[in-house]
């Protein structure tokens, strides 16, 4: 991350692990944030999410594609992360690519391998046509806890993503080609109720903290990234950075991530519902709401 200057006293306070952190939060509190709806107009649904100083834009684009031959009855979701050099000086050159790759990896494991999102709904005709959802993520500002903010924004964005409805098949030379509705208000939503959000827990001193700021991240040796569903199940665990953990501390972190993650995920589900309602109103103003976790 960017170069952070901390005095010895500040470092000491961070590492000592008080339950009152530098900005007054407790160890399991999130910062304030807000959500903008449709920040990118020419997409099938987009979100700009801010949490503390971290700022990301996520946009979805729905395409027609062919399913993977190994999984002929399922559609696909592809993630692409762009860490622009304006977000943090560390993203200049190769630094941004490595982090982007890492985030892509975590997201695709959380969404692809857990079975929490039913990819069969994205299939139109098995073996031939399916929806391919491209999720593009642009990091505008990196102010700590980037992975969590991205995963929340991705979930929100997939929740409001409009899949054009297929009205029928047109037979061309014996092959059925899907025909999409021309009415822009005829669309389906993807069911993302059970999909996970990522909770990253950096170990600062002797404790794991939720939603770490840049200062706290600079004082931690390693992080654990958990994918958590609304019912508190864990869908993925990644160990980021070097550093070892005791068996007990991994178990404690799992319990913490499970409760915190379930809470965040339920809030995100509520936000998705209210964003869908907001969209129905014909209001040209940009729509935004507080995140309030």
């Amino acid at each position: 991350m960017a170069e952070i200057l901390l005095s010895e006293v500040e470092k000491y306070y961070l590492v000592m692990g008080q339950d009152v952190r530098v900005d007054g939060r407790s160890r399991s509190d999130y910062r304030q944030g807000d959500i903008d709806l449709n920040a990118v107009t020419n997409s099938h649904g987009s979100i700009r999410a801010r949490l503390g100083e971290t700022d990301v834009i996520v946009a979805t684009k729905v395409d027609l594609g062919t399913p993977d031959p190994d999984r002929p009855d399922r559609g696909t979701i592809k993630f692409l992360v762009d860490c622009s050099p304006t977000a943090s000086p560390d993203f200049e050159g190769r630094g941004g690519d490595e982090l982007a790759e890492k985030i892509c990896r975590i997201l695709s494991i959380a969404y692809d391998k857990s079975g929490t999102i039913d990819l069969k709904n994205l299939c139109i005709t098995p073996k031939k046509y399916c929806y391919v959802i491209d999720v593009d993520i642009l990091v505008l500002q990196c102010g700590g806890n980037l992975i969590d903010v991205i995963s929340m924004a991705v979930k929100l964005c997939l929740g409001i993503c409009e899949l054009p409805r297929v009205t029928g098949l047109r037979y061309d030379l014996g092959q059925g080609v899907p025909v999409f509705s021309t009415d822009e208000f005829e669309f389906d939503y993807l069911d993302v109720k059970n999909s996970p959000v990522v909770v990253t827990l950096p170990r600062v001193g002797r404790y794991f903290v939720v939603d770490a700021s840049l200062e706290e991240e600079s004082c931690s040796k390693g992080k654990l990234a958990f994918g958590v569903t609304p019912d508190g199940c864990v869908t993925s665990i990644d160990k980021l950075g070097r550093g070892c953990y005791q068996v007990k501390s991994i178990q404690a972190a799992t319990a913490m991530a499970s409760t915190v993650g379930a809470n965040v995920n339920n809030t995100i589900n509520m936000r998705i519902d209210s964003l869908r309602e907001l969209k129905l109103r014909a209001d040209p103003k940009p729509l935004s709401m507080p995140m309030d976790i």
Partner: protein
């Protein structure tokens, strides 16, 4: 019409269901796994060091059909294009014969080794670790780190502890230790209908005498309580693997005593 569609694609490249049938995890006749093991048994481990003359350290591990070779060379001077570093650097290359290892696995193995090796002991130097997975019969990542740990021991690189790894598969009911590739394929983590009860694949790297976890990767869907007990089971398994590694390491010491000439080299 179906035929017409299919002749364009290369059929030979798809895996045939007839050749590789997806058998259930537990054989209903014997109540054991398809290869005759209990759910809590690991495959017999074959471990050998010194498989390549001239290399600083080398090890070969076999877990059933999973075969991994690890070769270590260095520590050597940093190449000119690499920036100066006050701690030692690692370069880890993982190859899979006839395939490609996911970038994620390589990063995990590298970060795990960085946590195990005392890197401050060789500043300005780089240690090269080459892992070759000759055959992936399941649990290849844990075989890789056990092999790397053994080769590091033979090379005499300063370590925090010996490194062992093991894998666990959860199908919603039971834990299957050290799963084969067929077993991993049977538990389809992506299927939502089948996945109600959960399921998952966990790989853990462990430093036994320090009781530290240096590699942890999990995918699938598991409740926090199940995950807790899975971690405990994996810890026990790692101790079983450790007993094999320990025996081989003792063997290494005996060899050195027998051959003092080699020792002075």
């Amino acid at each position: 019409m179906e035929e017409e569609q299919d002749f364009k694609s290369v059929r030979g490249l798809t895996r045939s269901e007839a050749l590789y049938p997806r058998l259930p995890l537990i054989n209903p006749e014997t109540n054991l796994r398809q290869d005759g093991r209990h759910t809590s048994n690991i495959r017999p481990i074959f471990l050998q060091t010194g498989i390549r003359q001239g290399a600083k350290g080398s090890a070969y591990i076999e877990l059933g059909t999973t075969k991994v070779i690890c070769i270590i060379s260095g520590p050597k001077d940093l190449p000119k294009k690499v920036d100066f570093s006050t701690t030692g650097l690692l370069s880890v290359e993982v190859q899979l014969v006839g395939g490609k290892v996911p970038e994620r696995d390589v990063t995990l193995i590298k970060e795990c080794l960085e946590a195990t090796i005392l890197l401050d002991k060789f500043p300005k130097l780089i240690l090269e670790i080459y892992l070759t997975i000759m055959e992936d019969g399941g649990s290849a990542m844990s075989a890789c780190i056990t092999a790397a740990g053994m080769a590091l021991l033979e090379a005499g690189i300063p370590l925090f502890d010996t490194l062992v790894g093991s894998t666990l598969l959860y199908d919603g009911k039971d834990f299957y230790l050290d799963p084969t590739r067929q077993e991993i394929e049977v538990v389809d983590l992506t299927d939502q209908e089948k996945n109600d009860k959960g399921g998952g694949l966990i790989t853990m790297g462990y430093l036994p005498s320090r009781e530290q976890i240096c590699l942890f990767s999990m995918e699938g869907k598991m409740g926090p309580l199940v995950l807790d007990s899975a971690i405990d089971v994996l810890t026990q398994t790692n101790l079983q693997v450790y007993s094999v590694v320990k025996k081989q390491a003792a063997h290494l010491l005996v060899q050195e005593e027998d051959d003092p000439a080699e020792n002075t080299n």
